[in-house]
């Protein structure tokens, strides 16, 4: 499953970097993840409940931030395991400065699915990818707006 997208935010590139490096934010924007628990440097244990259409499953797994290149890029490596199947994803995140108050986040990556969801979910996978992408950007947007106001 390919996941890619771009979105502009009304914060500077360095601000966006800082926001994204905050585990709470990462937890908020990673689809389904309710909690990130620090395991080591840039390595987190995740607990998530994903509900997409008829599929509802509790996933547990790991999220790791690698290849950090402040403030312009990093990669998220994720493993999510569940009874109905697993997802292993690697997504490159690129922050582009547009001007001093605006930046864009571009991500591109691939999630390898296995197990039952890989065998039975093909029909709607591109829909799932779209939902995930939208969720990431809208959660991030919401977080930014919330914190600007605060």
């Amino acid at each position: 499953m390919i996941v890619e997208g771009t979105h502009e935010f009304n914060v500077s590139a360095t601000e966006l970097w800082t926001i994204l490096m905050d585990p709470e934010v990462l937890a908020k924007i990673t689809p389904g993840v309710s909690k990130l628990e620090l395991l080591g440097e840039d390595l987190y244990k995740t607990v998530s409940e994903i509900k997409i259409g008829p599929v509802k499953g509790a996933f547990k797994g790991k999220l790791e931030v690698i290849d950090k290149n402040e403030p312009s890029s990093f990669t998220i490596q994720m493993e999510q395991l569940s009874k109905i199947g697993n997802a292993h994803a690697k997504v490159e995140m690129n922050i582009l400065s547009l001007d001093e108050n605006r930046s864009s986040l571009e991500f591109a990556g691939k999630a390898n699915l296995s197990g039952l969801i890989a065998r039975t979910g093909q029909r709607v996978l591109s829909g799932v990818a779209n939902v995930i992408i939208k969720e990431v950007f809208s959660s991030l947007e919401a977080h930014i707006i919330e914190n600007k106001i605060a």
Binding site: P54, V55, K56, L116, N130
Partner: protein, 280 residues
């Protein structure tokens, strides 16, 4: 082939069902979207609330300005409804395209639209028909315009604790002149493209048109650009050809191993054209 354990409660009325709902409950109507997911354990609710025995939900009634279809009406009962055949033939045509005989005998329209599969047939037809969805919750009834009902990928305007009780199809001139055409995924029988068109002509000109598409994007949608291009103009092959150019405008087009984005987009155009030509 064996679902995880759950509790089962049978509701004798919608009000009773509404009282039973909690966060871990799911409504069981025909079950033809839900039970397959339960069997694969893709979904493991704590409780199922069975509303399939509520006879009041199964009726199709002919009113002055609309036809009210109970949410528990099966696809088969819609397929054989003479009143719908007369006032909204696309409903009958769509019903006949769903699943197979056995599925149509049990699957319900309410269950289908609550599930909101992006490739299910009903969403396209209901969008084209300008239907109203009647919903019951603890506080009573509310009605949602179909244009506000489908919110996205498997997402609807239904809130937790709500049950669809009926769908109302207005008796409009456009609905009387309507059609549903479908290109099936041959394995699943879901739509790669399903297109419903309701169209009223004033002389040769298009007076009123609504086009619903399913299977194309992550949620069924109205092909507004096509509707706009057609409205007020003379319906002929030339107009049809030019009107469908942007049939997927504003909607992310799905893709899978059977039909790529490019092909699905092409098919969407072909099927809108085919539907319109049937109404020429």
């Amino acid at each position: 082939m064996i679902p995880s354990s759950f509790e089962y409660k049978r509701a004798n009325s919608v009000s009773e069902a509404v009282e039973m709902i909690d966060a871990d409950a799911q409504i069981l109507s025909g079950g033809h979207s839900l039970i397959p997911a339960l069997k694969l354990r893709l979904n493991n609710p704590g409780t199922l609330i069975d509303i399939s025995k509520i006879d009041a939900l199964k009726e199709i009634s002919d009113n002055e300005k609309s036809i009210t279809i109970g949410a528990g009406a099966t696809h088969a009962s819609i397929a054989s409804s003479s009143v719908l055949e007369k006032h909204a033939p696309m409903m009958v045509q769509a019903a006949r395209e769903i699943g197979d005989i056995q599925v149509r005998n049990v699957g319900t329209i309410g269950g289908s639209i609550a599930h909101a599969d992006p490739a299910a047939d009903w969403p396209a037809v209901l969008l084209a028909s300008n239907a109203t969805v009647v919903i019951q919750n603890k506080d009573g009834n509310r009605e949602v315009d179909i244009d506000q009902f489908f919110k996205g990928f498997y997402e609807t305007a239904l809130n937790e604790g709500e049950i669809i009780t009926a769908i109302r199809i207005p008796k409009t001139a456009a609905n009387k002149n309507s059609v549903y055409v479908k290109f099936k995924q041959p394995a699943s029988r879901f739509a790669i493209v399903g297109c419903a068109v309701a169209l009223d002509k004033d002389g040769g000109n298009v007076a009123d048109v609504r086009i619903g598409l399913t299977g194309v994007s992550e949620s069924a949608y109205r092909a507004s650009s096509v509707e706009k291009a057609l409205s007020g103009n003379t319906l002929d092959d030339g107009l049809i050809e030019s009107a469908v150019a942007d049939v997927t405008e504003g909607n992310a087009v799905m893709s899978d191993h059977y039909a790529s984005e490019k092909y699905r987009k092409h098919l969407a155009g072909v099927y809108v054209k085919r539907a319109l030509r049937k109404l020429l």
